[in-house]
Symmetry: C2
Subunit: 315 residues, 2 copies
């Protein structure tokens, strides 16, 4: 497919695999890039030296473009950015922070920069900072999430109407139908997270993958709104947060309850009771664990089929 | 357009105007039906004799099909249903209750029955009860809302995959782009609420209409989750609920705070501070009050334009 996003990244298909903590290392990123999409390494759960290894292994595993996702609130951000520049990573997605801080430096180094936003204010900030494209992510997405709770269906047209930048939709996209829906809303590509958590190459723990494919309607909830809102599976840890919130626990109590390392414990180590399990609502429809390349190909095949059905509507 | 929904209702365009309390009387319903869509009278805010007047005025104002929306928890439900049968209303949408209670009687009288759901469980219940079609409504919708918080983007494919019934999407649809997106997800028509609140023929108070077209991102919130979840504009009343919830008010306190008649006060009488103002997230993109017929025509024109763009994508 030829559009602004595929040309910007030099990829064949407008499917970006989200750079997710604990789930997306070099195996997943390179598999997606080799299938024609854009694979992203999730730096948010990696120490600098770990990130460097993943970048090198990714380069060895694919000759095609890939990128790194960097949450801007990450404590080792300077080290991460230095490694990204040194290793000549061609594309960086930034999130959770001010796009103005790093975009100019990265652009100066010839790196394509994309920023993730959840409202118009940050879309405009990202545009002003000089990014090459924007990811707009809705309420149904897994993990950390915007405070406005605007859903993807409502968010994409709002962002489309406030900036001419190339636009990637995220949140609630797991098949060719939802991908096509986002194109109808004005997106030029999609970023897909949850569907790739349940892939063979994802570094998520096998027990977490099994949880994802068994998730039913209502089994995830945007939680911890007094801290940073995050969509979680309703497991034992979530129930403890819910109980604390129901007795009006304050931020300090919630922070203590959350503690440190819960996301790793849940998603990487497979502690389904005590860990944080971040996944999107789209998991309600994911019922199998597939090779990432097959996921890309299935989405694209379904997208084309649905596109034909829409083209053939009798108006 | 020819599909199962337009043929079921005998309408020209697959656009249903939601039967909303305090906003959709005979003027709005007949205007939408005259424009080729399906107009619905919202019985939920009408005494039986008022409903009968609205039905008769609607019949006088249009020779085209229209319907009535009946929330099944309404106290005067038997009277409402009797009037609907006596007045030979051709189409009834039911919501907020068990579809099994009234569907058989209405069907026996030759009335087309559609039930509004927000999850698979009720979609199956509706199918078993013999309804002719289903409305699946997502989290972004205004007013009362499902507990699972599943967004329209995630809900429509789930429902499409669990029933062959004709499917109408609702929640977050206010223009031709979101309409087309819902068709990509598997819907065969859309139900549109908020966009028609901001119409000339809506019976919403002028001050409420002005509020709708000034709504910004994050200005609505799903509230009162301990009672029945309802999406409200964040006005003074909402802030009081929020403060009560923040101090862990119980259901009884919240019920007392809610009291009676707040929806009428806000939406019909224009008390923007003390009233309940029910509107969907899609209001963030609505910036003008138009005749309902123009809204139908604009949506349809944009739908066709976007459909062509999707058809012409270079794959």
């Amino acid at each position: 497919m030829k559009n602004r996003i595929t040309e910007l990244f030099g990829i064949r298909l407008p499917i970006v695999q989200a750079g997710m903590i604990w789930c997306s290392g070099w195996r997943l990123a390179s598999a997606v890039s080799n299938a024609g999409g854009l694979g992203l390494i999730g730096a948010g759960s990696m120490y600098p030296d770990v990130l460097r290894q993943h970048i090198r292994k990714c380069k060895a595993a694919t000759s095609l473009p890939f990128g790194v996702n960097v949450p801007l609130l990450y404590p080792n951000i300077e080290d991460h950015m230095q490694i990204i520049v040194e290793e000549k990573v061609p594309i960086v997605f930034t999130s959770a922070g001010n796009p103005g801080t790093w975009t100019p430096l990265l652009k100066e180094k010839g790196i394509k920069v994309v920023h993730v936003i959840a409202n118009r204010k940050f879309a405009k900030k990202a545009a002003e900072s000089g990014v090459d494209a924007i990811v707009a992510e809705g309420f149904e997405a897994g993990g950390h999430n915007g405070r406005e709770e605007t859903t993807t269906l409502c968010l994409i047209p709002l962002i489309r109407d406030c900036t001419d930048l190339p636009l990637i939709a995220a949140g609630g996209i797991g098949d060719g139908r939802s991908m096509l829906a986002c194109f109808a809303l004005g997106a030029e590509a999609v970023q897909v997270g949850s569907r790739f958590v349940a892939s063979a190459e994802s570094s998520a723990h096998e027990l977490f993958k099994q949880t994802v494919i068994q998730t039913q309607e209502g089994d995830t909830q945007l939680s911890l709104k007094k801290l940073t809102p995050v969509r979680l599976v309703k497991n034992k840890f979530y129930r403890e947060v819910e109980a604390a919130e129901a007795r009006c626990a304050d931020e300090i109590e919630l922070k203590n309850l959350l503690g440190r390392g819960r996301a790793k414990k849940g998603m990487f180590e497979g502690d389904l009771e005590e860990g944080e399990l971040e996944i999107g609502q789209v998991a309600y429809g994911i019922r199998d664990i597939l090779p990432a390349g097959d996921i890309v190909q299935q989405m694209w095949t379904e997208f084309r089929k649905e596109q034909q059905q829409i083209a053939n509507l009798e108006l």
